[in-house]
């Protein structure tokens, strides 16, 4: 390696100095500090993790977190799939419109949307009124401050995050492949389940992985729409810090959340084949 190339490399890399310094000092060091605290506060050892996995209330929080994330992922895929399909079916006009609805909902203030669901779902809210007006129910359904509220609110938030990757993988499918299958005599049903769906698989997989990870770490929506009995991990962590000053347990649960998130993110990167920094993208 000649000295000049070596120097050039250093010059290129030095542009990273601001971001490395900033994220290093204010992001990585506090994060590592949190991980260290989980085994040092209040004493050295794994007592926090042992306590976390032995106390039934803590275990309930963990179980509830994974239950909610799983249910939200399933519902988001079920609702996101037809939407992504329709956007792909109409690349212009209505498809563009639907895509804009998705983007609008994604970028609208999270707090505003969650507040809106709080009002919509309350026992004197619009949804209960409509259902009672139609004579479907006699008494208002408990739709908020419980598991149902969290699932509705979170699924709503997550739909855009499944539609966008799914739509990308659908529009990458060559229509000729599907045509070939039907020319060869496959019924629509066979084409859908044996050809179309398998081709969407990577989109479904990466999308649902992202939704699952995001659901595990969401704070605002579950905290506002959930009840006391179905607390999730993020709210639990904040509560341990703010109300009980219990940094050990908070750090230990944060460590579990970080570990699960990073493992799933690594899987996500494996599924995504295209490198984000390579310059030969087909855009």
């Amino acid at each position: 390696m000649s000295v000049r190339i070596y120097r050039q490399k250093w010059k290129d890399a030095s542009l990273l100095l601001p971001i490395i310094l900033f994220l290093g000092v204010f992001f990585l060091i506090p994060l590592i500090g949190l991980l260290v605290q989980s085994v040092t506060q209040p004493q050295l050892g794994l007592t926090n993790f042992a306590e976390l996995l032995a106390t039934s209330t803590y275990l309930k929080v963990l179980g509830n977190t994974f239950l909610v994330a799983t249910l939200v992922t399933i519902f988001a895929v079920l609702l996101g799939f037809p939407l992504a399909w329709c956007i792909t079916l109409f690349p212009k006009g209505w498809g563009r419109f639907l895509l804009n609805v998705v983007l609008l909902s994604m970028w609208t203030s999270l707090l505003a949307r969650t507040y809106s669901w709080l009002v919509l779902l309350q026992s004197s809210g619009v949804l209960n009124k409509i259902l009672m007006g139609l004579g479907i129910i006699d008494q208002p359904l408990p739709l908020v401050h419980n598991l149902a509220g969290v699932i509705i609110g979170m699924t709503y938030i997550m739909i855009p995050f499944i539609v966008l990757p799914l739509q990308a993988s659908m529009s990458a499918i060559d229509p000729m492949v599907l045509q070939a299958a039907s020319i060869c005599g496959a019924s629509s049903r066979t084409v859908f389940f044996k050809v179309f769906l398998p081709l969407c698989k990577s989109g479904i997989f990466s999308g649902s992985l992202m939704v699952f990870v995001m659901s595990l770490g969401y704070y605002v929506t579950p905290a506002l729409l959930g009840g006391v009995s179905n607390m999730m991990l993020p709210e639990f962590i904040v509560q341990q810090v703010q109300n009980f000053l219990n940094w050990g347990i908070a750090s230990a649960s944060a460590s579990i959340l970080i570990a699960v998130t990073l493992v799933l993110f690594y899987l996500y990167l494996k599924v995504q084949t295209e490198s984000p920094t390579s310059s030969n993208t087909k855009d």
Partner: protein, 266 residues
């Protein structure tokens, strides 16, 4: 064939239209609902409201606490947006153009603040600022917001930089321009929309940030989402619908602006 409209049977097609229509309505519903509610007269958030009024807007704009928190939000978001862009800009150049190994890993590392749950970033930075005695200050707000805003700015700048044909810049260098001169006079003007879009995204991330802000806030210094959050915990007053509506329109405006800038860069 399932990717063209003609190929689907009418039964599947109408079912698909109906389902998609309902889901799209589901996505748009809360946004329209909240805007309508902010003009409703009933303080019990009855829908449809008995009559229409702007009294909640008057109440919002006459309350110094709401105005102050909105101004704090604006201040924090503007500083965050500028700082995040200044940090992301050189990093984007290095990641797209650099010849050093491990660029993909570094990219993943820098986007980590998008992946790590916000609540963890909130608790970690809170712990740091607590030991430094900086919680409840503007500095704490800005630093913690820049952490989550940097990846958004960086991704936008990287995308526009990848679309820029570097041979134009090289041509300027061959014609006798210094490399820095070429970047400033040739490259910057053409990736400017991407940089501005990145700054707008960073602004939006900061403007809408709740979790970190709730941890950083003090009774004296809070952003609009924090004020909304603490009010929400007490009651569901329509004044929050007003604040929400303002947030919705600001997001909409910024999204349209960013979209416009991105289109111009193509």
């Amino acid at each position: 064939m399932l990717l063209t409209q003609q190929s689907l049977g009418w039964k599947i097609k109408s079912a698909l239209y109906f389902i998609t229509g309902s889901i799209a309505a589901f996505l748009a519903l809360p946004i329209f609902f909240i805007i309508a509610l902010s003009f409703g007269s009933s303080q019990w958030l009855v829908f449809p409201p008995p009559s229409w009024t702007i009294k909640w807007y008057e109440r919002f704009f006459s309350n110094p606490q709401w105005i102050e928190s909105a101004l704090t939000s604006l201040q924090v978001a503007i500083i965050t947006s500028i700082l995040a862009t200044l940090i992301a800009l050189p990093a984007s150049f290095a990641l797209v153009r650099g010849k050093f190994p491990g660029r993909d890993y570094l990219y993943s590392l820098f986007t980590l603040p998008m992946i790590v749950p916000v609540v963890i970033i909130a608790v970690a930075t809170y712990s740091m600022f607590l030991s430094l005695g900086l919680t409840g200050t503007l500095v704490a707000f800005v630093i913690s917001h820049v952490i989550v805003a940097v990846p958004f700015a960086m991704i936008s700048i990287i995308n526009s930089l990848k679309l820029f044909d570097q041979s134009i810049e090289n041509a300027a260098v061959i014609c006798g321009a210094h490399r820095l001169q070429a970047i400033l006079k040739v490259t910057f003007p053409s990736i400017k929309p991407g940089i501005f879009a990145g700054a707008l995204f960073a602004f939006l991330v900061s403007w809408d940030e709740v979790v970190i802000s709730v941890m950083m806030a003090s009774p004296e210094l809070q952003t609009l989402p924090v004020k909304m959050w603490s009010t929400l915990r007490q009651d569901l007053t329509p004044v929050i619908a007003v604040a929400s509506t303002l947030l919705i329109f600001l997001s909409l405006f910024i999204m349209l602006a960013a979209n416009f800038l991105r289109k111009r860069s193509h």
